[in-house]
């Protein structure tokens, strides 16, 4: 951001450190920084990633699998978040995600040991062309006005309700009600937003 000219509100969205993949849409005045933003962007579907206007995505990793689809609203501010998307991650407006926080909509490997052996082989250098066993994927939904602190982890299938506050370092495995304050590993409700 400081490597570039000051942004004018009328500027189109852009990635400061490279050429955007053709299936990424950015709203007006949205900025993405960081060399690694699209290093693991494997989706070729149209409009795989759509980000609204006036967002700041500083050092964020957009790691989309072949079938991943991610939608982010307006006025969002993410710092070095790692977004791992195999199915769908849907994020509302005015959402803040703190430094080094991970959001994942999949566990990436099966739980059953025999299936995991098959998966390890399929993922190995010797596994070319072998199909991988099915893996559980569940969409993650983060509603408007959610604040998520640094070093947090948001796992698959979770819906975080409007205005909720996720304290730093929290591990979220279940839905968070609107306006709740949560903390801990696993996270528990510790209060409500004033």
């Amino acid at each position: 951001m400081n490597r570039d000219k000051q942004s004018e509100p009328s500027q189109p969205g852009r990635w400061v450190d490279g050429t955007l993949p053709p299936n990424v849409r950015l709203g007006q005045n949205t900025i993405i920084t960081g060399d690694l933003a699209f290093k693991r962007f494997h989706c070729h579907e149209p409009d795989a990633l759509c980000i609204g206007a006036h967002c700041t995505m500083d050092g964020v990793h957009f790691d989309l699998g072949e079938a991943g689809r991610m939608i982010i609203g307006d006025y969002c501010y993410f710092t070095n978040a790692v977004l791992l998307c195999e199915l769908e991650i849907c994020i509302g407006n005015y959402v803040v995600i703190g430094w080094n926080t991970t959001v994942a909509d999949s566990d990436f490997h099966p739980i059953a040991p025999a299936e995991r052996i098959a998966d390890a082989v399929a993922c190995s250098p010797l596994g070319k062309g072998r199909p991988r066993p099915p893996v559980v994927k569940q969409a993650v939904i983060i509603e408007d006005d959610v604040w998520i602190g640094p070093n947090a982890t948001i796992l698959k299938g979770v819906r975080i309700g409007t205005g909720a506050l996720v304290e730093p370092g929290s591990l979220i495995t279940r839905d968070v009600p609107p306006r709740a304050r949560v903390m801990g590993n696993p996270a528990e409700i510790i209060g409500e937003v004033a």
Partner: protein, 201 residues
């Protein structure tokens, strides 16, 4: 290409050490990239003691009135230091990678206030928050060891010689010579007489 006196001869990043950062001649800074978000206007916005060091991954996200002090031999491997008030790190303290030390939440706790700030931020050159949000100092005592990916929240004091386990979230004060861990962090036990044996009181 010639480098200025405020640049580091070994640096891969073409930045400078800000003028109000006081670095002892025996201290070590791996990269000036750590100061990319440094905007303190206070004299001695960061002070490095004798033999103090900060390595790659350390980021001084320090606001205009923020002040950070690293004691003698303090070693910061890679911490995100979010400071609008004061963060003091004692002598011989060891801070591991991906640790977050935050004396402020930076944005208002209520949605309306946060929306207002999020609408202003994209108009600023650094796109950084400048809301008037409370900041309470963090004091990390001498000889403290903080494990990786731990978060230390606003207002926390960690007493001399204590050890914080990896991935902890420290929400309240930790007494001296104590082991604490967990999320939220709890006291595990005091250090034993055996462990304290050769410690000069």
């Amino acid at each position: 290409m010639s480098r200025s006196a405020r640049q580091l001869p070994w640096d891969w990043y073409e930045g400078e050490i800000p003028k109000n950062v006081a670095v002892d001649s025996t201290a070590y800074i791996e990269t000036s990239y750590s100061f990319r978000f440094f905007r303190s206007e206070v004299p001695g916005g960061v002070e490095y003691g004798r033999g103090a060091s900060t390595y790659l991954g350390t980021m001084f996200d320090v606001g205009p009135r923020g002040r950070v002090k690293l004691g003698d031999y303090a070693l910061v491997h890679g911490a995100r230091i979010i400071c609008d008030n004061e963060i003091l790190i004692g002598n011989h303290a060891l801070i591991s990678w991906n640790v977050v030390l935050m004396d402020t939440y930076r944005l208002p706790a209520n949605s309306a206030g946060r929306r207002h700030e999020l609408e202003l931020m994209p108009q600023r050159e650094l796109r950084i928050a400048a809301a008037d949000v409370p900041a309470r100092p963090i004091h990390i005592g001498p000889n403290v060891w903080i494990g990786f990916e731990t978060c230390v929240l606003p207002g926390v004091t960690i007493g001399e010689g204590s050890v914080i386990g990896a991935r902890s979230v420290v929400t309240t004060n930790v007494p001296p010579f104590t082991i604490a861990a967990g999320n939220p962090a709890r006291i595990v036990r005091p250090l034993t007489a055996e462990e304290m044996k050769s410690h000069a009181a």
